[in-house]
Assembly symmetry: C2
Homo-oligomer: 185 residues x 2
């Protein structure tokens, strides 16, 4: 049986806007030896699978500062203090980033972005019958272009590496599995 | 068109064993204003889809210190300075973590773990006809249990949230898509 590691002490190393860094000292249940682990703390995240009535996925292109590349992704973002739920965050982020609204918002999955070094959860939220109804409302650092990608092309774009943000790939897999159990008429 | 953000300056904030933290000052191509971005740098990672001749996936259970949970994952790890390639890393990690070896090692996908705040790539490596041929060789901080999971159960375990590490979910999606184009006889 895998045993949890008891914590000896924990301290914040620093805060860096969207995340903070923590050092945890823990004791190995196998050897009894202490080890230090660094953990990145941040709020929970939400990724939005937004489908139009024509079975297109509402996607965005944006510049990403970790990799210095332009990525094809689904909308999403950080849960704000004012967001009551992952569903509310998904509706808000979809609207701000693309101007789209939809129906039947629901959580269809969740993942740990990186359980080795991050503490947070990322929810996958689905909306259907999405339409553009609002102007976009970008953050200072967001330059986004909306792209409608036919659902039938999603697998191919993952295979070809056009969609390569791991959290987006994970959300689209969860959606494909969800759809297998809930065929959309 | 999405424009890249020119960099004004970049500095290392600190090194924390498996990653370091960097601050980049960049200029918005839209507004001309400067913005600071924090980026986590680390080596590239490899995830291994290891199949047995009986169509089982060689998986591991391990304690994860970001989430303080026991996770069902596929083997994988960091590319060492001594690793010539993602394929070599995959073979080494599979052997160290499970004692298994296999055949036909190949890269079947790659993702950015988090292009917003991380600079690195994670490769998905496939091995087939895997068998246990060696003793395991854990790092100081690794307590792992090997689990053979029938390939036919993978989708269900993702849907039910038993497999929930985003990089593992992404790798298994890439494998399912790869398998659709390369049926295993």
């Amino acid at each position: 049986m895998i045993q949890p590691w008891p914590q000896i002490e924990s301290k914040i190393i620093g805060r860096f806007r969207i995340f903070s860094l923590r050092s945890d000292l823990k004791k190995s249940p196998r050897t009894g030896e202490p080890h230090e682990f660094f953990v990145i703390d941040t709020v929970n995240w939400v990724n939005v699978v937004a489908l139009t009535a024509r079975q297109e996925v509402v996607m965005i292109e944006q510049y990403r500062h970790g990799t210095n590349t332009i990525e094809l992704e689904i909308p999403g973002g950080l849960m704000d203090a004012g967001d009551a739920s992952p569903e509310a965050t998904g509706v808000r982020e979809l609207r701000e980033e693309t101007g789209y609204d939809g129906e039947g918002v629901q959580i269809i999955g969740r993942v740990f972005p990186n359980p080795a070094i991050m503490s947070n959860t990322c929810y996958t939220v689905l909306l259907r019958n999405c339409e553009k109804r609002h102007p976009v409302d970008f953050d200072q650092t967001e330059d986004l272009i909306t792209r409608l990608v036919p659902l039938s092309e999603i697998n191919q774009r993952v295979t070809q590496g056009e969609i390569r943000h791991s959290l987006v790939v994970a959300a689209l897999y969860q959606f494909q599995l969800w759809q297998g159990e809930h065929p959309i008429k």
